[in-house]
Symmetry: C2
Subunit: 548 residues, 2 copies
């Protein structure tokens, strides 16, 4: 592996950790807990792991001799910056417990456990990945651990390698499954502990106990760097509207955070669209109005941030897609026989009035995507829709109408961008490097304390790292029952953007100013070596949420 | 203007400058020069500015009292990182000559001179823009200064403001025009000096005298950062081929530099395609072969870098576009009357055999773009063609054929990206901050020395800044005669990628290794505060070109 000079310099960075983790550590139990909702059902499903106390780690006066521990680790789901540092922190923690401890990595996600694909992570390997981005040390995957057959198969290799505990690094679903696995291994007396670590760049795994999920900080900073650069270009050239789509299927945390960092002219928040039952037309008018007002001041340029999942949050679009899925499921063959040029008219003739009108208003390319590109279950693939192009084109059309009516006199030219893969594997910011390392180290402490069904937790992270609080949260505490594929399941609640939360309220209070006055901020690239106010700041979202 | 913490910290950075510029400065004349080609014609066109010596600035033993100088500055053409620092360096240099010197900025490009739109750039304004990206201090524009009426109109305001010298910051065309203006103002005895500064992020304004044009360093580092992040994701997820288009219409310097920094699996260099007279099919086979070979090793992922201008370098595509332009110019009305669904067949029936075959092989979307979206002159808008999608789709089709023939057994899924606007207005790297500031400061020295028709020049920039050599190059020295719009014109030769140059040869020697072994490098974001080997390295291109 050829390393860049930055990688070489960055390898020497020593992540900052909570003071309590620096020497001997003791676990302090808090009060017993209960789940956020559906307590009796959750308790019934998790008789062995329900109601456990929150754990806090504190400095112990002297180190207790502890035998060597073998542990396993799995990366689950999409990449997020800092994953390697969780593993590195876990490794260092295990070695601090006893130098003969061993760590095994299961390869390419949870499937590695089931299929017995693994490698021992030795000090040489670990040192290659300190403070690096990516999940390439052991790979990741999307296999879900949901079947007892998988658990039993996994147990074989865990027993064979004498693994006492398994750490699963993943999002809400992966952590839910980690808890199901913990319950299963506790119920069957196998004794293997299971610990989760909260990861999503989307930022939707957070709650009263988990301040943030790792990777969100770094990814948002990378996106904000390039958005800032585009805004500076926009403000220099003064002739384009940039429509910028940002990763985030189910929640708009990334778009909101990037808006707080860069102060664009428009940012759409899916959760607001849904709450206000806005139509696609409402959104087009909202954007076109800003374009027209800026044009009156001679400013025929601007920026619009769009969350990736927007389409699915527009109630009318959801209804259209549902009817399309339903209709096409029953008329697949008939539809396929229609000549391509007639398909649009055919669909319009078959839909209900409301949906037909909406479908007819869509640009041709998007309309085609909605009927042609369907997944193996026959459903419309919403993620393939180029929402940024859809909005740019529909805004352009609307402005042309307004121009014909004399209501708009500007020039409109648009450019589109989508940022996602640019941020998922960036080298972690100091915050994520520290936070991830601490999460991994804390996982080792939970293992040493004999815990299972816990998520590793680091709190108070807007303070300097020495004041961070390390501990463990029972996963059941974050659960409620939700319908998934027609069945009620215990799941960790996904955190959407709260419209009464400080980050959204700050955005809402400023957005008119940002829309009409050009108030762009240019955050620049992540810095690793400079002054602390440049290198160690948290996201705006976290700072606002934690502000007292 | 709300500033990010990085902007605030970065404002305090003091650009490093050549030792000779630190105190009193004297101009040392070299030998007389001649143009690179067409000497007699160039001399005839530039009787007053031809054959002047190369200037070098050296430390002088004592400072000469110099009267205050009023100067003007213009940003011409596309944004490039560091433009503000040229202006800042110019300002500081003028103030060092005499604290009563004044600097005026003409607004929104050369048009500001003609239309008398300007502002005085006071110390307060200048300080707001030290080490920042963008051209927003005074804006830029693409008006060409080519008519004597423009020159005369400009002279009015220059006289009115008592401006002794004008500095034009731009690319090859702008510097050519700067020299025409210098010649005109010298010939008419107005006495206004004109000095050029070499800017293009494309990197195509360089030659024996100009090592590099500013902005190229920063832009390539930003692109390489996000390419590296995508490669790390690619190597972690192991399931996508990323097709990444990079800015650079007429030369592939950016793609080549990014390839040297990140070591992708494939990088297409337009100049090589043209030299080898490769067809689109050749390129598709080249990429598909790498995909197939990697699939044999179980690696169904990879990265492909594509220069923006590729299509125009494929001889067969150039011929097709020429025939399309010609045919449609004469049959516009007839074509428009054809039903949309018949247009493709219609075009195929009208083209020569070779071009018809090529047109028929193109994916539908691209074929439509080639006939529908034409500019006001009726020409195909090559820049609108999504080359990255075109290649991804055609490679996919070819692999499907190979699969049917049993020659390929992998899985192919692609994602596309285009990076351009992300890098043009980034805050300058230390190199560009230093280089630009020095270029601007040197321009002030050329003004003080009474020079006109010179380009500001900083050489030896792979050495530490104190050893850089500041001077001036007569613009006529870089000129030759070329046909432009049917007329022979004096122009600065555009520097394309040299296939016998060290950067390309290094790439060519390594590309097979990079193709089949995964040798990705992850450069990470530009650093401003860290160790010098991280913060102050030049581009690979420059290092290889200057290596003895």
């Amino acid at each position: 592996m050829t390393k860049s000079t930055l990688q070489i310099a960055r390898a020497a960075y020593e992540p900052k950790v909570p003071a309590a983790l620096k020497g001997a550590v003791k676990a302090v139990d808090g009060a017993k807990t209960q789940s956020v909702a559906d307590q009796s059902e959750i308790e019934k499903l998790f008789p062995n792991t329900y109601g456990m106390p929150v754990i806090t780690f504190e400095s112990a006066s002297e180190k207790v001799e502890t035998p060597a521990i073998n542990a396993g680790v799995i990366l689950s789901g999409g990449q997020a910056p800092g994953g390697h540092n969780v593993i590195v922190g876990l490794f260092d923690g295990l070695k601090a417990i006893n130098k003969d401890s061993r760590l095994y990595g299961f390869l390419m996600g949870p499937g590695g456990l089931v299929d017995h694909n693994y490698m021992e992570l030795t000090a040489d390997i670990i040192d290659e990945y300190r403070n690096t981005g990516g999940f390439d040390m052991i790979g990741s995957g999307r296999t879900k651990l949901e079947e007892t057959a998988q658990y039993d198969k996994g147990l074989e290799i865990l027993k064979q390698l004498d693994i006492k505990a398994l750490v699963i690094i993943g999002g809400d679903d992966s952590n839910t499954n980690a808890c199901v696995l913990a319950e299963y291994y506790k119920a069957n007396g196998s004794g293997v502990q299971v610990i989760g670590c909260p990861k999503t760049i989307d930022g939707d795994l957070k709650n009263e106990q988990i301040e943030t999920s790792f990777g969100f900080d770094t990814a948002c900073k990378v996106y904000s760097e390039v958005i800032g650069n585009i805004q500076r270009d926009c403000n220099s050239a003064r002739k384009y509207w940039h429509f910028i789509k940002l990763m985030g299927r189910s929640a708009s945390h990334i778009a909101l955070e990037c808006a707080l960092q860069t102060q664009p002219n428009v940012c759409i928040i899916s959760e607001e669209v849904e709450a206000k039952e806005q139509s696609l037309d409402d959104i087009i008018i909202q954007i076109a109005t800003v374009v027209a007002k800026r044009a009156e001041q001679g400013n025929n340029f601007g920026t619009v941030l769009i969350p990736e999942g927007l389409i699915e949050f527009i109630p009318a679009m959801k209804r259209l897609i549902a009817e399309l899925n339903d209709y096409l499921a029953h008329h697949e063959a008939e539809f396929k026989n229609i000549d391509k040029t007639e398909q649009r008219a055919y669909i319009i003739s078959k839909l209900s009035k409301e949906n037909a009108d909406l479908y007819a208003s869509l640009p041709e390319g998007v309309a085609r995507q909605l009927t042609l590109d369907r997944d193996p279950h026959g459903n419309v693939q919403v993620s393939l829709i180029e929402t940024e192009k859809l909005l740019a084109e529909m805004v352009s059309n609307r402005l042309a109408e307004w121009k014909a009516e004399g209501k708009y006199k500007g020039k409109f030219a648009s450019l589109v961008h989508f940022f996602g893969y640019e941020g998922r594997c960036a080298a972690p910011s100091n915050y994520d490097a520290d936070y991830c390392y601490s999460l991994g180290y804390t996982a080792s402490c939970l293992i040493a304390a004999g815990k299972t069904g816990y998520m590793s937790s680091i709190r108070n992270t807007t303070a300097p790292a020495s004041e961070w609080i390390a501990g463990g949260i029972p996963v059941t505490m974050m659960m409620n029952m939700e319908k998934r594929h027609g069945e009620m399941k215990p799941v960790i609640q996904k955190a959407l953007v709260k419209l009464d939360g400080a980050p959204f309220k700050t955005f809402a209070a400023n957005r008119d100013n940002w829309a009409f006055n050009t108030e762009y901020v240019y955050p620049g690239p992540i810095q690793y070596f400079g002054p602390t106010e440049v290198c160690d700041q948290t996201t705006k979202t976290l700072a606002l949420e934690q502000a007292k």
